[in-house]
Symmetry: C2
Subunit: 594 residues, 2 copies
């Protein structure tokens, strides 16, 4: 079996948790009616499972090769990319005004999850291109937009983000790449590292967005501007012109995502790479941040996607591998019958479903924030997006490492052999907590800009919604739902205590607050995921009572939610303790004593 999209769960989350039926009524999203969305999901699943998934292991094994500035992606990648853009998948998430299909973010999230599950390395090309598209669409001049956007949206040209330099990683204030004015354009000089899909052979041009400093720029983050520098210059008629003075110096030898070329880019080894200023000088970081929510949500979805793929692989193995007699059984049986294997599979399944629900619901909040007719609802949803984006990014990716590791464990010794494919998920997942802002960066964003800055308004709104769910659960007479309710109540209490602690310490003990930031992020993820699982269970119970078809799926959802409540939600108490009791000991040791 190759990857198959979890369509039942995707439909359930889209329809019953994320509110797609309502979102499809918003102006501009009218196309997202049920038949079309269903067709999109079916076709995306076909493409993901038939075209992308078969290239996942081979791409990992072969990797990318770099010679003389040229990068060859793995066999099959260029052809698959051609199919991908010809089928229109590349343009799907973009707005119709720039040539896209205008699907709600919640729908394109489900589709993106499929690409990422089937072939994470491949999927990064589109993701980066769409990030560049978004930055140009928001901030570039009409002339630049006309020159670059149509081909980028269509996927004929791909896009990159050039932020990192060897001395400037999480701290972009240290960027040194220089931009020298040259008439109405600029020449770039400098070196950028970790440039995803920075050079490749799947499309004819690569459009680099580059952070650099103008000669008179102030130091630090307020002196960074955003430039666009194409690999091949573009003639006025849109045809490709001369090769620009930028080159892929090498690619990294990485733990995972081997099919995704991670380039070291050298700008201006000759006369300088010709580049065009995007928007105003010195506002480059601000422009980068405008597309941060989408990009971070997307990386959070990578956590969901890799976890789902690892789960599917583990289930398949556990069904087929016969080993030992299960307790109480007389015959040797597939290991899925062994209690500890079930525990591992349930753990994977419950976490993946909670992560998916939270990620899609956050995408739905983006849609509401953008298109809901009521400005108050838009504002409320924007607040929720701001609060939950670092959580989706940080929590789903951190969880994915553990889930992929559990997937190996289900396989036993066979899982350690690379040909099995289980290990690739761990290697691939391992980057997701790092790029697009490490978990530490997400957590600082969460406790600072997202919690302390508004004095807990958005966190309070989340608490309010979870309390409403607890009230909705109260009258339901069902042992699973009662157990879920009581676990969610305990976890919410932990979240409230930690939130109060964080709000009272952020200004006065900023180092202690920062020491508790990642535990607070994990706590928020666990509780918000538990909230979604509780909603899911209550809704499934209701649908079952109404005789909805797909009863087996709905019963499984309730069981899975209960597992989550009893095995994952208790982690909220650990995080709370780490925050409210433990930050002093985090900081107490002298540097020299590590």
């Amino acid at each position: 079996m190759t990857y198959a999209a979890p369509l039942d769960d995707m439909r359930f989350v889209l329809t019953h948790l994320a509110g797609l039926p309502e979102i499809a009524t918003f102006p501009g999203f009218e196309d997202a009616e049920p038949e079309l969305v269903e067709a999109v999901l079916i076709e995306a699943n076909r493409f993901a499972s038939e075209v992308l998934a078969p290239l996942n292991a081979t791409g990992d094994r072969q990797g990318c090769r770099c010679a003389d500035g040229h990068v060859a992606t793995p066999d099959g990648f260029p052809a698959a990319y051609r199919q991908f853009i010809e089928a229109g998948w590349h343009a799907m998430p973009a707005s119709p005004d720039i040539g896209g299909q205008g699907m709600p973010a919640v729908v394109s999230s489900a589709v993106a999850e499929m690409w990422k599950s089937a072939n994470l390395a491949f999927s990064l090309c589109q993701m980066l291109t769409m990030g560049a598209v978004e930055a140009l669409a928001h901030h570039a001049s009409d002339e630049l937009k006309q020159r670059f956007l149509p081909k980028m949206v269509a996927g004929e040209w791909t896009g990159t983000m050039n932020l990192t330099e060897s001395q400037a990683g999480s701290d972009l204030s240290a960027v040194r790449t220089r931009a020298q004015p040259d008439g109405d354009r600029y020449r770039l000089f400098g070196s950028k590292i970790f440039i995803t899909w920075g050079e490749h052979d799947v499309a004819e041009n690569v459009i680099h967005l580059v952070l650099a400093r103008l000669p008179d720029a102030p130091p630090g983050t307020r002196g960074i501007s955003l430039f666009v520098a194409p690999k091949f210059l573009v003639n006025p008629d849109g045809s490709l012109g001369a090769r620009n003075d930028l080159v892929c110096a090498s690619i990294e030898h990485k733990l995972g995502i081997h099919g995704s070329p991670t380039a070291v880019m050298a700008y201006g080894e000759k006369a300088g790479a010709i580049a065009y200023l995007v928007g105003q000088p010195n506002r480059g970081l601000e422009y980068m941040f405008t597309m941060m929510n989408h990009a971070r949500l997307n990386v959070g979805l990578e956590g969901v996607a890799v976890s789902e793929a690892a789960y599917q692989k583990a289930v398949e193995f556990a069904r087929g591998r016969v080993q030992g007699k299960p307790i109480g059984g007389a015959e040797r049986a597939p290991i899925i019958r062994h209690p500890d294997v079930r525990r591992m599979l349930m753990d994977m399944k419950a976490r993946v479903e909670a992560m998916r629900a939270l990620a899609y619901c956050t995408a739905a909040c983006m849609d509401r924030a953008q298109r809901h007719p009521d400005p108050a609802v838009r504002a409320r949803n924007q607040g929720r997006v701001e609060l939950l984006t670092p959580v989706v990014k940080g929590w789903c990716t951190e969880s994915s490492i553990m889930i992929a590791s559990t997937g190996i464990q289900v396989h036993g010794g066979v899982g350690y052999v690379e040909e099995t494919g289980a290990a690739q998920y761990l290697r691939d997942a391992r980057i997701t907590t790092i790029y697009e802002g490490t978990t530490g960066i997400q957590a600082n964003d969460l406790i600072g800009r997202k919690l302390a800055r508004d004095k807990g308004v958005n966190a309070g709104a989340l608490i309010h919604d979870i309390e409403a769910e607890l009230e909705a659960l109260a009258p339901v007479n069902h042992p699973d739902l009662s157990a879920i309710r009581s676990a969610l109540q305990a976890a919410l209490n932990a979240f409230e205590e930690a939130t109060a602690w964080m709000l009272s310490h952020y200004d006065n003990d900023p180092r202690e607050a920062a020491a508790g930031a990642v535990p607070y992020l994990k706590l928020t993820g666990a509780v918000a995921g538990g909230w979604q699982m509780a909603r899911a269970a209550r809704i499934a119970h209701h649908l079952l009572a109404n005789g909805e078809p797909n009863a087996a799926f709905l019963r499984a959802k309730i069981t899975t939610a209960r597992f989550y409540a009893e095995h994952v939600l208790p982690e909220a108490g650990v995080s709370r303790d780490e925050i409210t009791m433990g930050t002093a000991s985090t900081l107490a040791l002298e540097d020299a004593l590590f």
Copy 2:
């Protein structure tokens, strides 16, 4: 910086926690007096850091190559191995009566930790050989012992364990390899997989211990016998004779431990591999189990060792990498000053120290069980060894995966680049929860043979000892020790509740008990590790009050123990909840609904 053994912590654990001064008074351990042990530690550190550590990354990159049945280990491995045996390190852990140095297990554990930290792949060769030595020494005839043991103890010949077959992994009852009688010896036919150091170029002969079935053997685990089959037959004068009919068919392409050849061994492709029965027919599994405690403790030490190495690498990076201004700081500073980086490093440090303490103390219990003059003390310590061995194996290795992963995270993007070396620790660590019995197997052993079989006597003794520690802590007036005491009390309560649950469910609800087995193992590890950290903190406090030198180390120990109490011990509550509330939901889902 390369690896350097954590000598201060090793000395502290050996002397103050594991009781080496007392152990050195036992008959047969008189050589283990302080000066000699100190010299051993110093020299082992030199060998580990100067000879083995420099080959760790190169061995990983180059891996092993197999052609025509020959296996070449990475460059430098054969020469290092030669140095290793010439310096006498190979024979060190063996008993003097078979040519070893008769060091207590607690001392050889510290030394083994160094080999494993410096180069896990290399260290496996000695470990497997010593396992084979132990099996032969206990069960083989004098003739076989004379033929094989001296060269194996010296490391001139290496040893292997051939257990697994493709259909017989955790379930050895499915072993199919056949042993055909041929005069006073046997001929083996069959295929074995996952044979660590099954073929290589570091020594002239490989002595394989092989599980196989005699023609008239009963089915299942009671029909498996143990054989010894050398790669080269041994002439009566001890010289090497003909090549035996056993060959390395291929080696595995693995996630990690690339420097350790993992062989598929084919026995009897011609007339059958000549082999000799070890001990009695049909008792092969029983013989394997006699060396299980040592082997499992050793793999637990691998968890400690890889974690220590990952920690050292992360600290080194965090001290050198300048990035961003820490909160409250005016200048860019090394990332070790950032609160979240400190949190990660403290988490690694605290867990490693707890794991080391527990592993060494368990080794010390082995020494007491073997050599203490009082039979009652021997019996009590044997019970403790039985109880804690699966915990050391399962908990230290499970923790090591997370710790090595955190090590990558400290490095940020650089950690994902293979040349950095942080990723190797995660890849290497990932096997440790699988081989020598998966965590699930350890946990079933723990709740069955180690807990339920004696109705909780040994677990009760552990609880008793932890209660005694709580009493010893009570009168100490020190805020760190008070915090530690209260966290340990809470964790002990969780352990007692879970133990009571497990004892009351094991017979009546065996599937539910098995579903809670791994959480119970983790809970036991967290609490027992916390107990050791509490002891360490109390003793450190006492030593400080007495004006002991090395005050900085002792203060760090107290701080680290408090971190452990506030960040790790709360996990006991999660495990307790998983056990006492959550096992039904683990088992509730129908197979088809995964």
